[in-house]
């Protein structure tokens, strides 16, 4: 049995409970939906955009849109919903829209260019918990090409099975697996110099003047 299948069995019951709750009562069911998947959606948002406050905005907007969509669905459609893949798809749409809006406003720098400690919420609440490794790894994730970053975050941070990631991407499972393995490969490459030599801030590894991270 693969890891993905084990995860699948553990969460099918949760998905079912959410679908039943939504069909029985949309607003009460929405609370169940939120409580079941808030961690999935928030973790994904946080590791895609990299900032605590932006992740809060993205999560709130994604759940609001999900509610508005659900309000127009027939019970049969809700009954056949894959809630996790569906929520993540909404989140990615919200994220891409905010990126486009940000790109149209030249005065606000792209999220990737943001300096590391830009996030007080992250600093105070998470720094201790994550430790230095976590902070560095979060920074490295943001250096991956978008497809690889999304695939790695969905598979390994949000713990979504390959089949559902494939439905988010609208691609065959093989393509998703290759995004993930290439993403992991890249992360290992990024980690290597930092681990072998003296510890360095993650963002300096990609320094164009110093491509190998040598001091």
């Amino acid at each position: 049995m693969t890891e993905a299948e084990t995860v699948g069995v553990a969460t099918v019951d949760a998905d079912d409970r959410v679908r039943h709750a939504l069909v029985a009562d949309l607003d009460g069911g929405f609370v169940v939906l939120y409580e079941t998947y808030q961690r999935l959606v928030f973790s994904t948002a946080l590791r895609l955009c990299g900032r605590w406050a932006d992740a809060e905005d993205l999560t709130a907007e994604a759940f609001l849109r999900s509610y508005r969509a659900l309000a127009g669905y027939e019970p049969a459609r809700i009954g056949s919903l894959q809630p996790r893949a569906w929520l993540v798809t909404i989140l990615l749409n919200v994220w891409r829209n905010t990126q486009r809006t940000a790109a149209r406003r030249p005065q606000s720098a792209p999220l990737e260019a943001a300096p590391d400690p830009a996030d007080p919420g992250e600093d105070v609440e998470r720094a201790v918990e994550l430790g230095e490794t976590g902070r560095e790894l979060a920074g490295m994730l943001r250096q991956l090409p978008e497809q690889q970053r999304i695939a790695v975050v969905l598979r390994h941070v949000a713990d979504l099975p390959i089949t559902e990631i494939a439905s988010v991407f609208g691609s065959p499972e093989g393509t998703v697996k290759s995004h993930i393995s290439r993403g992991l490969q890249r992360l290992r490459e990024l980690q290597a110099p930092a681990e072998s030599g003296a510890p360095k801030p993650a963002r300096r590894i990609n320094d164009p003047a110093n491509p190998h991270g040598d001091a």
């Binding site: 961690r39 999560t59 709130a60 994550l130």
Partner: protein
């Protein structure tokens, strides 16, 4: 442990719960509280009070209130544990200007009209045209009426205190009968206002103080009959040597109309 396991374990550690309270950025909460004329249903968000309906309007049905909220705001509506901060005292005293409101569902113009209506003190009324002048659109009297009719938080933003210049009370979200009852409960001198309007007067002044007021201003209402004079406009009062009351702040009509026109021309 392989490098791969190490890396995926580290990645799994990057998960995080959404901060407490994030659900309240998405969902609104509702309560039922006693109001001046029967119970009120009140919905609020993290931004403030968003929607108010009377028990009578929704026929005392929680479901009908929720349905009308969802239709207008398209947000989940959940029961609240307690009423929004300050709502109880505001309803008891009729002083609601300190409450926080969520007016995101209203246009900028509608919001300006509502904020202006919020400044009208309990027990007083102002004409639609006054509101139009206050928001800098003196000719948009009809639009003011429409904006007030769409007031999402009647009673709390007292759109019932905006009446017609001819002395009649005009329309109301919950019906003009309710508007009349509310104004009577606030002891507005409606009869007197109507009588003055029939005589063509919209302001009253005292010849002892030389101050001109709206007829519902508490200072104006203290003027004894012997010293009381009616005026058609603030201009007419000013021409007779009166100055506008600093409490109820009646404004010259022509001046503000001119300002709007002059606004587009550089001086």
């Amino acid at each position: 442990m392989t490098d791969n396991d190490l890396l995926t374990n580290e990645l799994a550690g990057l998960g995080a719960d959404a901060p407490a309270g994030l659900l309240d950025r998405v969902a609104a909460r509702w309560v039922r509280v006693p109001g001046p004329l029967g119970d009120l249903y009140v919905a609020s968000t993290d931004q403030g009070i968003a929607y108010v309906r009377t028990d009578k309007v929704v026929h005392g049905e929680d479901g009908a209130f929720a349905a009308s909220f969802r239709k207008r705001f398209a947000r989940p509506l959940l029961p609240a544990e307690r009423p929004p901060a300050g709502l109880g005292p505001a309803l008891r005293t009729g002083r609601t200007s300190g409450l926080r409101f969520d007016l995101r569902g209203s246009t900028d113009f509608e919001q300006a009209v509502l904020r202006t209506a919020l400044t009208i003190p309990k027990g007083q009324v102002r004409p639609y045209s006054w509101v139009a002048r206050q928001v800098g659109r003196p000719r948009a009297v009809r639009a003011v009426g429409s904006a007030l009719a769409r007031n999402p938080v009647p009673l709390l933003i007292p759109c019932h205190r905006v009446t017609r210049s001819d002395g009649t009370i005009g329309d109301y979200v919950f019906g003009s009968e309710m508007k009349e009852s509310l104004l009577q409960a606030e002891q507005v001198n409606l009869e007197e206002v109507r009588e003055l309007a029939r005589a063509g007067f919209h302001y009253i002044g005292s010849d002892t103080t030389g101050i001109v007021c709206f007829p519902t201003c508490p200072h104006g209402r203290r003027i004894t009959a012997a010293h009381r004079h009616g005026f058609r406009s603030v201009e007419a009062a000013e021409a007779a040597g009166y100055r506008p009351c600093k409490y109820c702040r009646p404004a010259p009509e022509q001046a503000s109309a001119d300002r709007e026109v002059a606004g587009s021309v550089p001086e």
